[in-house]
């Protein structure tokens, strides 16, 4: 065991770059453990956990870069260090353009900038947002871990100045048909969206595109906007802007159930406008929505259907079924293949709202669902790394992403988890979402294919068949191409459904069908 470390003071790299480099270095044969990062408290803690925190490293600051590793010998350590530099300098060489060091100097290079996209560590973000707003620029704030008080103050300032402040924790927006952060390439059309959830916006916009319609704008508000303390400020500013936008004919709102007062405020402003609206408050009461003259969406897919139908001027119906031919045959076929011990659904999700939607649908249809983000406290998994009965896991939640890149970018965590689900004899169905678009992994399906095969092999060893069901949240125009991704999955025997809701309903149908047999 050879422990070596390296410190470079005053040398800053962004966390995603360093995490990916850590992962790449770990792949070097002979490297037992490694961490490449900035000297943050978190990274020091992680290093300590790996027994990689030499006393020199304890003194470094968040502005210092370090590598600490445990390898089998000196040569490997040298190789690893050299490799890190190779990866780091590769990035620098590629960027030819001058990168100003501050927002102020960036303004000198682009005085007519109209939007500032901020994805810094949370504690630094508020300062930059304020700067941007005071300079009359709209803001998209991707960062999370921003204090609630800061969010309230900044949104107040934004509203005062008539500016958009999307976030904090805003992962998705599509403004003037430009995908910002994690977003898909969507056809132009008359539907305008304001959403408090990233993957929620992604699934709805993607469905709208699949239905042949399109969007004008998709404004993100961040996950906390509809809490009582924030008061729905940005959702209201956003929907007002859509009410005044001549290219928007139908308005869609997406959120988890908001605070009741906030919900009423938002709905009444919607009512004052003249445009029809479809509202999805995940798991919320549709009656309140109807009371204010809006159309309630029963799922993300249903919301998209209703919005597209409204835009086309055709009658609106609840969509809770399937658009796949021969669905009964599929249900029967899969049910037959399951062994007696196989009873449970295991959902491995990268999109939080998709996981949420799945839980809402499933708990209605088949009963209790366990999770790391359960609908009820009783549903919380004792150990989030071990599924219990029907379990739906949001792999993008904080507990899983501490010190690791998000699963929409890096499939590692899901690759590991799917193997443990495969080994569990009670697993009947594995449910997965694949989110495409800018920001996501360049080949989400391709990354999982070898592991999907391994699942088949593990199960086949004791004569089991595990049913794999997925949906791909993407369009043909996305960099990853929807059709290609679906093809890769289908070739591995995965049942690919046109939406998350349908994938979930299929899983439920198989479970219910099994119960009947038993």
């Amino acid at each position: 065991m050879v422990l070596k470390y390296l410190i470079r003071e005053n040398t800053y790299y962004d966390s995603v770059t360093l995490m990916i480099i850590t992962r790449e270095v770990k792949k070097i044969e002979g490297v037992k453990e490694v961490i490449v990062g900035m000297g943050t408290e978190l990274n020091k803690e992680l290093a300590g956990n790996l027994n990689l925190l030499a006393s020199e490293l304890q003194k470094i600051t968040p502005n210092d870069f370090f590598i600490s590793l445990d390898s089998i010998d000196d040569n490997i350590a040298k190789k690893a260090f050299a490799f890190v530099d190779e990866l780091l300098s590769k990035k620098k060489e590629e960027s030819e353009d001058y990168q100003p060091s501050t927002f102020e100097s960036a303004l000198k290079y682009m005085p007519d900038a109209n939007l500032v996209l901020i994805s810094l560590p949370g504690k630094y973000a508020a300062r930059e947002v304020k700067n941007a707003l005071l300079n009359d620029k709209h803001v998209m704030l991707f960062s999370d871990n921003v204090a609630l008080e800061e969010e309230i103050d900044l949104k107040k300032l934004a509203k005062q100045r008539g500016l958009l402040m999307m976030g904090p924790d805003c992962g998705t927006a599509i403004i003037n048909h430009v995908a910002l952060a994690f977003a898909n390439v969507i056809r132009k059309g008359p539907i305008g969206i304001v959403g408090a959830s990233g993957t929620g916006i992604q699934e709805v916009t993607v469905m709208i595109d699949k239905l042949g319609s399109g969007i004008s704008q998709a404004i993100g508000t961040g996950g906390r906007d509809l809490k009582a303390e924030v008061g729905g400020v940005m959702m209201i500013e956003g929907l007002k802007a859509l009410q005044n936008d001549h290219l928007t004919e139908v308005i869609v709102l997406i959120s988890k159930p908001p605070d009741k007062e906030v919900a009423r405020k938002v709905l009444s402003i919607l009512k004052e406008g003249e445009k029809p609206s479809v509202v999805y408050f995940a798991g919320g009461d549709p009656e309140v929505i109807k009371e204010y003259g809006s159309i309630p969406g029963l799922s993300l897919e249903d919301t998209a259907h209703k919005a597209a139908a409204t835009a086309k001027g055709i009658p609106i119906e609840d969509f809770t079924g399937f658009t796949v031919n021969g669905i009964d045959k599929i249900i029967k076929g899969e049910t037959k293949k399951l062994k007696e011990t196989q009873r449970y659904i295991r959902g491995l999700y990268t999109g939080g709202t998709l996981c949420d939607e799945a839980m809402i649908i499933l708990s209605d249809l088949i009963g209790d669902i366990y999770s790391n983000i359960p609908l009820k406290p009783e549903g919380k998994l004792f150990d989030i790394n071990k599924s219990y009965r029907h379990s739906l896991i949001d792999l993008g939640d904080d507990e899983f992403t501490r010190g690791k890149p998000h699963p929409m970018i890096d499939p590692y965590v899901r690759q590991e988890r799917i193997l443990s689900e495969a080994k569990d004899k009670e697993t009947a169905i594995i449910l997965m979402d694949f989110v495409l678009g800018f920001g996501s992994n360049p080949d989400p399906a391709g990354e999982m294919v070898p592991y999907i095969r391994k699942v088949g092999e593990i199960a086949a060893k004791d004569g089991r068949h595990i049913c794999m069901i997925s949906s791909v949240c993407g369009t043909e125009e996305d960099p990853q191409n929807l059709i290609e991704q679906e093809k890769k999955l289908k070739e591995e025997g995965v049942i690919v459904m046109p939406s998350n809701a349908q994938a979930v309903r299929l899983a439920a149908a198989i479970v219910l069908s099994r119960r009947k047999i038993q």
């Binding site: 502005n63 810094l120 430009v178 920001g439």
Partner: protein, 56 residues
């Protein structure tokens, strides 16, 4: 027209502070962007930050 509605009529010109991958993706969509080579102000040194704030 409100500023938000004005934004809807304009060509997006973006200042990106943070993840370089976001900047790369915007360039792929042919959007004019500037990437800020951001570092924690005063290297995160709280004492220096409070001194600087006193002068603002």
């Amino acid at each position: 027209m409100t500023k938000i509605n004005e934004l809807f009529q304009e060509e997006l010109k973006i200042i990106n502070i943070g993840l370089e991958s976001f900047n790369e993706n915007l360039k792929k969509q042919n959007i004019k962007t500037v990437q800020v080579d951001w570092k924690p102000p005063a290297g995160g040194n709280k004492k220096m930050l409070s001194l600087l704030d006193k002068l603002k």
